[in-house]
Amino acid sequence: MNYLITDNTSGAVRLRDIPETDYASFYDDLRTRLSDSRWHVGHYFALPEEEARLRFYLLLLDDATGQVLIGSFAREYYDDTALPSLTALHAQMHPFEREIAERWGIRFDGMPWPKPLRFPFDRYDRNSTMDNYPFYAMEGGSLHEVNVGPIHAGIIEPGAFRFICNGEQVLHLEIALGYQHRGVEHLFAATRNRLRQLCLAEAAAGDSAVAHATACVETIEKLAGTARPAQLAPERLVALELERMAMQIADTGALSMDVGYQLGQVACEALRTMTINTTQAWCGNRFGKNLIRPLGTDHPLTAEKAAMIRRNVAEIARRYDEVRHDIKSSPTLLARFEQCGIVPREEMLRIGGVGQAARASGAARDIRASHPWGLFAGTLAHESIVKTQGDVMARLMVRCREVLQSAGCIDRLLEGFVPAETRRPDYGAPLAPRSLAFGLVEGWRGETLHVALTDDRGDIAAYRIKDPSLHNWMALALAVRGEGISDFPICNKSFNLSYCGHDL
């Protein structure tokens, strides 16, 4: 099968340059290619075209060379023959085939997990609703089901979890999502106000506002094709690493809380406050909303702000390292975290896991290293932190190390910082017509991918957002298998996945 080969630093590609094949060769190629963990699917979606056609686009990421392979196939809109399912061979395809089936009514033959994904408002089958989600069931006198949600005990987003347990032991967990569906992608393509589009990207997952905004401006700047001020690259990176620090610290605190380690909890709460207040003192918003803007910035770093960030980050890193040290020297904590919620490397790769959760299972998936963009592609080589155990402790330790690593990265970026000329954001730059561009960045959860397609006039005709949670929810379901149900909270928090980023 033919692909258009590009990478994470090249510009937009013209739609007519993307080769189109038939499903048979598409299927054949992926069947063999995905057996090698070097490749994984970044995105796979369908869009209607003129002449009553449905065109399917695939973005395939090659971790070995950093290439991004773009391929496509098409078929008639009203053609209702079933396609042989790729999920049957490669479980990582499941969210994409489920989305395509749910949205367009495409049937995938042999699909082992034919479940709704997010119940979008424009779904093909209006009779499929939240209330009749087809939960998996098991029969047996000693089995019972536990249903949790959609509203949870804490102040978090909604989602429904159904456990099938044998006594205390979890045999199966099924996670039904879609409660958070707001129609983000549809609204994105429905407006030409680029500021509104940026705000929508930031709202895709509010705890990853910087990661999603960075993916969005990358996409838009590629389509605009104009050079951006050099100063923006380090500033955006500082913002992204601050977000990573804040959230990894928050999750360390959440895990501490769930095992009754109050000292760690309150220390992390205070450190997170300090981190997000640093972001707020820079841009006025604790989550870094409004900080990342196309082709310019409203909050250029001044020498004073850069010094303030450096100072705070050094202090946070020092104190956080003390917490990390305390965790590692507390046998009661290790007894809860170690050997709990294990996802082995092979499983993680099979389901297409990404980000820090994958790295805790020995799968070195990290866009900063494999598909570098911005400064990572230039002066700043990134070395991923990888653990092999795949348990709660490994996920926690990856977080811990990443906080310290991000702090070091910010320190290096701001060392001897000299403010340079920057521009104000440009919300009116014309975009290349009939083109495709993507923004691919490593947020704190992992691989965050935005894809835009433009029409004849250079307006965004379709926009696709992928939060890393789309891949990783399945990893949580696997992690709790065989565990006591009372370990679910720490398993859940060791992943801390996004509901709204999944449901969009």
Binding site: E157, G206, L263, T273
Partner: protein, 257 residues
């Protein structure tokens, strides 16, 4: 094993903000905007441009008004039309009425009309208030800020105000998010499960108006047509101090001048 703990404790020190009513936020924080009627044609044009760019239609140029209930506090309008709009760091943004969130030129505070507060609210909840939070399309940032109100820094629990796990234990519901169609029923069930008398708080710009998602077909806001909201709190997300100030003012523990 004890020494690492002592070290953490010593670095941690004392974190609680001593007086929540005396908090002042960084000057960068975008809180209550102040509007000035444009004096010349140039600033009038700038204001028109700002209104056209506003991502949610929160800003109206003529008659000049800014609806905090729709505002994302992105600050873009103030940069386009600095003569007409200026953001202050005032976090006292909560209002007992939706109309109270609409600011006009000359307004120097968000009015808190005490007449609009039901008398049973101070009587029943003045000393302790337990709330159940329901996220119905919230983007996790509002939820995290609500969680932060009880953390070691803000420690709102010291005033008897906190969040509870079950609606059966709650005196009221805090809603975040625009209310998605897929969450509408669960929100109804949760609200009905809270015993009377109860209060209802809309937290965040998405909850107040639908925000970015006001026109989305994936959203169903009929909940807010059927139930009276006691406190409207704008923000993207709502800063913990906006929540703390709003709730304490609602309960009559704080006045707004």
């Amino acid at each position: 094993m004890i020494f690492p703990k002592i070290r953490v404790l010593r670095s941690h020190g004392r974190q609680a903000i001593p007086d929540l009513d005396a908090v002042e936020l960084t000057s960068e924080f975008r809180g209550r905007p102040e509007l000035t009627e444009p004096a010349d044609a140039e600033s009038r044009t700038a204001l028109d441009e700002a209104a056209a760019l506003c991502p949610t239609g929160a800003l109206a140029a003529a008659p000049f008004a800014l609806d905090l209930g729709r505002c994302l506090f992105c600050g873009e309008c103030a940069r386009r039309a600095p003569q007409s709009i200026r953001f202050t760091n005032d976090y006292r943004l909560g209002s007992p009425t939706r109309e109270g969130l609409v600011l006009r030129p000359g307004d120097r505070r968000v009015e808190f009309d005490r007449k609009e507060v039901r008398p049973e609210i101070c009587r029943c909840f003045g000393r302790t208030l337990k709330l159940r939070e329901v996220s119905a399309g919230g983007d996790a940032s509002v939820e995290m800020e609500l969680g932060a109100t009880g953390n070691v820094n803000f420690d709102l629990g010291r005033h008897g105000i906190s969040f509870t796990a079950s609606p059966r234990h709650a005196d009221g519901v805090v809603v975040s998010g625009p209310v998605t169609r897929n969450m509408a029923e669960a929100l109804d069930i949760c609200y009905d499960a809270v015993a009377e008398p109860k209060i209802l708080v809309a937290c965040g710009t998405d909850a107040c108006s639908g925000g970015l998602f006001a026109e989305s077909r994936a959203v169903d806001r009929s909940f807010f047509e059927r139930h009276r909201v006691d406190l409207w709190l704008p923000g993207t997300p709502t800063h913990p101090m906006v929540f703390i100030d709003g709730v304490r003012t609602l309960l009559g523990l704080k006045t707004r001048q």
